[in-house]
């Protein structure tokens, strides 16, 4: 069919239509089998990745691997703690680098420093505000026993264990950052042995 010359380019060429038809025919001929779903492997994941463990182990793993510290630094051991937290000793290697300004977001209280009786109610309050489960590391001689103030001072609490329950004692005046890190690792071992579920209670129910 002849097309008027001004309208020649509006309609496609018959030759081009034929080429297009060939391409479609080829594609159709080659596409008889379906392409496999590239996300097929997802269905195999549950079969590959299920690990069986105990509830105790799993809970303890979560709790010991994210020990966040409440800020309770009454005296000079705090600087050793700050050093431990800094880039040289780098507590964050163990997932416990985050210092929480709010005790409600903390699991661990590192009592870095001398405690006076006047300060004691405030420390007790910080401890009470921390959510369960919570642990305490007594860092340094003052926190363990009152340290150099223990024998003579009328104003110093002779050890944090008079105020709050202590899990791990880290000796030193002040302890080196390595000692503190070791103390936290001891605490992690302690948490790993914790029993979360009373089986007998479950059975009785």
């Amino acid at each position: 069919m002849e097309v008027d010359s001004p309208r020649k380019y509006i309609y496609s060429d018959t030759e081009l239509d034929r080429e297009e038809g060939q391409v479609i025919e080829e594609l159709k001929a080659n596409s008889q089998p379906t392409i496999p779903d590239p996300d097929q492997w997802l269905e195999e994941v549950p079969e590959q990745n299920i690990l069986l463990t105990t509830v105790d182990w799993f809970i303890n793993w979560g709790q010991r691997s994210s020990l966040w510290t409440a800020i309770c630094f009454p005296a000079c051991c705090a600087f050793e703690f700050i050093a431990a937290n800094g880039p040289r000793f780098d507590l964050s290697r163990f997932g416990m680098e985050i210092l929480r300004a709010s005790p409600r977001q903390a699991d661990l209280m590192i009592t870095a420093g001398t405690l006076t009786w006047k300060m004691a109610p405030n420390v007790r309050r910080i401890y009470n505000q921390m959510a369960e489960p919570k642990w305490v590391i007594a860092m340094g001689a003052c926190a363990i026993s009152g340290g150099i103030f223990a024998s003579a001072s009328y104003a110093v609490v002779p050890g944090y264990n008079h105020i709050i329950p202590v899990d791990v004692y880290v000796p030193g005046c002040p302890p080196r950052p390595e000692a503190l890190i070791y103390g936290i690792q001891m605490l992690q071992k302690k948490i790993a042995q914790k029993k979360n579920i009373d089986i007998g209670k479950l059975i009785r129910r």
Partner: protein
């Protein structure tokens, strides 16, 4: 450099103004009677030649038979300083006049002295313990505390 004024010279000038107010004087310090402490302090602060407008510190010493309260005064204008002292012989309820209305900085230091030494400062607006808690037995910086 701050010039430490001679206690003896100041003592004679104090004696002229307030007779029999000075107990003893040396080159380093003037010991004044506790009754006339306020008058002497106001005199030292307000006289233009002295102009002791700054109180460096107050502290107290226990000498077993008496307490001695030490005031170190400075003049920022003349850049000179002076130490005056006052004594309390009453061990049961020692007291001295407060200098808070002359030097505001005396506020916490007088409370500290009351807390640790048990010397009451008459006329202090808030005379109570500052470091130890209410109900603490005794005053721990006294020599006979332990």
């Amino acid at each position: 450099m701050t010039v430490a004024l001679s206690g003896k010279e100041i003592a004679t000038q104090i004696e002229e103004k307030f007779p029999e107010s000075v107990v003893e004087s040396s080159e380093k310090a003037v010991v004044v009677k506790s009754d006339s402490l306020l008058d002497v302090a106001a005199f030292l602060k307000d006289t233009p030649d002295f102009d002791f407008d700054y109180l460096n510190y107050i502290t107290a010493v226990d000498y077993y038979d008496h307490f001695e309260v030490v005031y170190m005064l400075s003049s920022l204008e003349h850049n000179h300083s002076l130490v005056i002292k006052a004594r309390c012989y009453d061990r049961e309820s020692p007291s001295l006049p407060s200098v808070v209305h002359l030097w505001q900085g005396a506020d916490f230091q007088e409370r500290e002295i009351y807390d640790l030494m048990g010397i009451k400062f008459e006329g202090h607006p808030n005379m109570k313990r500052i470091f130890l808690w209410e109900g603490f037995p005794g005053h721990p910086l006294r020599k006979d505390f332990m």
